[in-house]
Symmetry: C2
Subunit: 649 residues, 2 copies
């Protein structure tokens, strides 16, 4: 690949990464990370030093005749030496604070938030680029890295199954901002026909407001083209939400599952749509959007002639890793569009998006279900602990490209350093509705001249983009690259669940403890679980018990560095989850009345991102070790409670 | 300072950085950066290696009995070696792309965008923290770095002159997002009294809508407290813009100077206020907001009973570095508030904010004008080329704490790597209007448990925060720290202007060329300039000439690494600037009719951030070298034009 090459938009998925080598040996996951014991330290250190040297000499060699501006004499001055000493002190303070309290994401003992070790190549590429400090807001300040960001955008499109000719995407600071950006696009799009009605009524002759607010997305984008042709585009845009404001409810409902991330509440607020417009749909017992409830909400909108601005589905919920039945949702959208109710469909796959790599073959084709199962088997199932996704999950991933846009975060399942979120849109014409520069910049390749003029953010790190780009160059976004890591991660989660189910009950300090996973077959790689005293029927007591287990297994238990097992927790409340958790607490023998009275259940939550358990010699038995650690912690908690009860009795 | 210490909110400005040493020797600017010739490479390399080693051993020492999961045998496998080889190839590709086309920010030859070399301590601290990869969205994922971010927020407050007990601030991904966040705060605040009217009418009895929309900021925050006390807060909030939507113009005008950054247009669009509500006020010949025009606009709003949501002033405009007369604006606000027209006042000091460090003494006191001049003189004027700020600029910086919030970007004049913007708010009670968690988290220190619940963004880089924190620890935010860098930067700009004025005319290739700076005394450190053929009265020809000079002095001229002088450019158009540039083009002998006909002037734009010219042995004569380089470039352009004219004649 030429160093001066511009983004090659015609590349096919998964190809072009081998630099001309025919059929290279497969990538090894073990060589991708620094490792839980810094196993790859020699390589990491050597490469990082090499790129630092590259930069140091680059500076010196820029106009080599220029003299140095800091002399040897300067460097011997007392104040100079003092400044370096203070620099060292500050850096040591940073290092010691981190070593004291940073989470050991890299360790197999960390099974808490959506965090893991990160790809060496991404971290070194980002560090290397930080020395040059490009700003991807404008091409002039990021000649090297803005094209990388747009290449990554194209990678997103391929990975998600969008048409290569029409899709567009880029890196955002995080998934929350990507969600805002998608709603900005949706809002300006849905209000555009009202602008056209005002600017060029002929184009929408005969359509009433209801019909204008229910034009399908593709039709609105055609309308955009027509106004550009006849010169009324700017006037129509000025008469849409962009010029007139969000309109306080006129654009209708934003429909979301109850499991949506809270950034969607913030989005409704920030984008001026208002929380009143947010319609939360209950989830089923698998924490996926309840399709019947969704239909009922849409029927209600249809009956009352309330438009629907957008529907958000979630691929990988924050707390449970649940994956909405996107295939069914796509069908429902088609069905209601025929009834005259049309809406924008965005998928929040901030967490689950990279999961789609597991379903793509080396040519970028989405594999049929039997082929997928067979390819997963080839990945050394016994060692890697592959889990087979259900057919519903498979069909959900297959249906993703039917959505209008998708949030997908490299800093989650893309294994790159914070901060790097992402968005991918199906039809780049939509950028015209949020652009802040002359028309030509969003027609074709000139879009890259000033990225900040078509996205939400302004100044942005070119180094972050280089990190993601390097990760994508090294690790193909298909089953032979990221797919291997996904398979290990999902396999790990499945084996953790099985281990918990095998344990089920154990005795500590004279008490029997029941242990249950929230879901027997989680859609993705998050394992929620809870513990209870056998026979206890008080939900309050059970919640208190699990809160104590969490406290003993997290930062709140003291210095992070002394922990031997770290998890996170979450609280499933009726306000957010309706009665979805009821089945779960019933399994512990708690009566429904307890749920009604308390209305929330505390669960431990383990995101199993790291690929390392598959490297242990006795996988999957290794999972059992964590249960043993938990038992120890629980034993101490039970003993403390007994002592406390004895003292206060 | 203890490694486990929490943010100390009581610290006074500029103190607490010396780690207990009495009167340490002053910091030396030369020891703060890697340097234009990598002069400090030995220190940089050694420190970076040390922190990498810290991290490598930290991993290995976490539960030391745990076995390594990558064995020596694994490492000899063909696929393992191949994976490392590919990693190296990808990293070399990143490095070569950067060395080919990255801007040499570090060099004195780079005088383009708002970029410069960055502080070593910030870059190393950020890199070091990236290895740990904390996420400042929640305390649990950033026990070390979220407190650093909030300490930096307190630093902003001290630097800007806010009351230590009431202010709050944090790091944003950039200034654009900080601007959105400020407008989110302003919008939810200004609409809150309408919510109170609906939720608890007794509290605002007797006030009509006009009065409700004109309550002073402090009164609204008192109202917030009262609704919290009487339990109607949530209901009132739900009936404000947060629940009901932005309201499409009901909240009134957003008043901005014409020179505002285009993120304000985006903000009006994204926040659902609509571009129709944006009122652009002309600027005067110094590119500061025209105070009479501002008064006229406010009078008009008063006469027509149109509320004013917010007024934005700019401290350091993007193109000219102009500083609005904030002191006068603060008085105007007080005056109109008495007339019944009250509005939120935000200062966009994304660029100029750190400039305030030059005005603070070591105790954090804003120095009287004569003391400032005397302290600046002590900074070795001859060598550093200090420029004395005008009294208007001094009073503008003094008046900053009268604003309700301020955007201030560390990645601009804070000399830290991208991406790191910032916001500071005067009265933290306002966070209640944008918070997405239970009430207790925004009362007092618990706010830090879940940062993402009170800010616009979600996941965010803890490494960025550590970089800014380290910079603030090392370099005091007063005249003896950052103030030294500011003085060198502003002094550089002033000397560049003087050099251009001394040159004024020169002969190349048989033609006389006129050269003029846009402003004789720029408020800050940006120098705009233009060239013209002596006697040429065509603005189109002059614009074409300057466009060619820009092309010959920027990335568009070819490989960045071969450039010997690099600048940026901008186009001052009537659409954005009214007639502000008219005086400038008249100085070139162009008639007013040319301005009316063409309506735009192309100027070269040099942001003089780097502190290095002060280190040259023959400062300020060194600036003359750039004029010589420009002359060479112009000579080639003139010769080419002559050749072209001869060929086509």
């Amino acid at each position: 690949m030429s160093v001066t090459s511009r983004p090659d938009h015609e590349k096919t998925a998964g190809s072009g990464k081998s630099n001309g080598h025919a059929a290279p040996p497969a990538l090894t996951v073990e060589a991708l990370f620094l490792g839980p014991k810094s196993e790859n330290k020699a390589f990491f250190r050597e490469r990082l030093l090499a790129i630092i040297e590259d930069h140091i000499h680059w500076r010196a060699d820029f106009n080599p005749a220029d003299a140095a501006l800091v002399s040897a004499e300067d460097m011997r001055a007392k104040a100079f030496v003092h400044t370096l000493d203070r620099t060292t002190e500050v850096l040591e303070e940073v290092s010691s604070r981190l070593r004291q309290s940073a989470d050991p994401w890299f360790s197999t003992r960390y099974l808490g938030h959506m965090c893991s070790d990160i790809l060496m190549v991404a971290n070194i590429a980002k560090m290397s680029t930080m020395l040059f400090n490009p700003n991807n807001c404008a091409y002039e300040a990021s000649v090297a890295t803005e094209p990388m960001e747009l290449e990554v955008g194209k990678d997103f499109g391929r990975l998600l199954g969008y048409d290569a000719d029409t899709n567009w995407g880029h890196i955002t600071t995080d998934g929350t901002v990507a969600n805002y950006e998608s709603l900005w696009l949706a809002r300006n799009l849905k209000s555009f026909p009202l602008g056209v009605k005002s600017a060029c009524p002929d184009l929408v002759e005969g359509l009433d407001e209801w019909q204008l607010l229910n034009l399908p997305v593709a039709k609105i984008l055609d309308l955009l083209d027509e106004t550009k042709k006849n010169g009324t585009f700017a006037k129509a845009l000025a008469a849409s939400a962009r010029g007139r404001g969000a309109g306080g409810g006129k654009l209708g409902k934003m429909i979301v599952p109850q499991t949506r991330h809270y950034s969607w509440e913030k989005a409704a607020d920030i984008l001026g749509i208002g929380l009143d417009s947010l319609e939360n749909i209950p989830v089923d017992s698998l924490y996926r959007i309840d399709l019947e409830a969704l239909r009922a909400a849409l029927d209600d909108c249809l009956a009352k002639k309330i438009p629907v601005l957008s529907l958000i589905s979630v691929v990988g919920t924050t707390e449970e890793g649940a994956i909405d039945d996107v295939a069914a949702i796509v069908k429902i959208r088609e069905e209601y569009e025929k009834k005259g109710l049309s809406f924008y469909h965005h998928i929040d796959a901030a967490y689950g998006g990279y999961g789609r790599t597991m379903f793509l073959d080396e040519e970028g084709n989405f594999m049929p279900y039997p082929e997928l199962l067979s390819r997963l088997c080839e990945l050394d199932v016994e060692k890697s602990g592959v889990a087979f996704p259900s057919e519903t999950v498979w069909s959900a991933f297959r249906a993703i490209p039917s959505a209008d846009s998708v949030t997908i975060d490299p800093h989650k399942m893309g294994y790159v350093p914070y901060a790097a979120g992402g968005i991918s849109v199906r039809d780049k014409r939509i950028l015209g509705l949020v652009s802040y520069s002359a028309a030509y910049v969003f027609d074709g390749k000139d879009i890259e001249l000033n990225l900040a003029s078509v996205i939400l953010e302004g100044s942005k790190s070119g180094a972050s983009a280089a990190g993601v780009w390097a990760a994508h160059q090294l690790v193909p976004q298909n089953i032979s690259g990221y797919g291997q890591i996904m398979a290990r991660s999902l396999g790990g989660a499945r084996h953790f669940v099985k281990t918990l189910e095998t344990v089920r009950e154990f005795d500590v300090a004279g008490k029997t403890i029941v242990c249950l996973p929230l879901l027997s077959e989680p859609d993705f790689n998050i394992v929620c679980m809870a513990f209870n005293y056998k026979g206890n029927t008080s939900l309050a007591k059970m919640n208190d018990f699990n809160t104590k287990i969490y406290a003993a297994s997290s930062y709140s238990g003291g210095r992070m560095y002394t922990e031997d097992w770290i998890t996170s927790h979450t609280v499933l409340e009726t306000a957010s989850y309706g009665n979805a958790p009821l089945d779960f607490i019933k399994k512990f023998g708690l009566p429904e009345s307890e749920w009604t009275a308390v209305g929330q259940v505390v669960v431990l939550r383990s995101c199993v991102l790291h690929p390392w358990m598959a490297s242990t010699p006795n996988y999957p038995q290794a999972w059992q070790t964590y249960v043993e650690i938990m038992k120890d912690k629980i034993e101490r908690i039970v003993a403390d409670e007994d002592l406390h009860n004895a003292t206060t009795a």
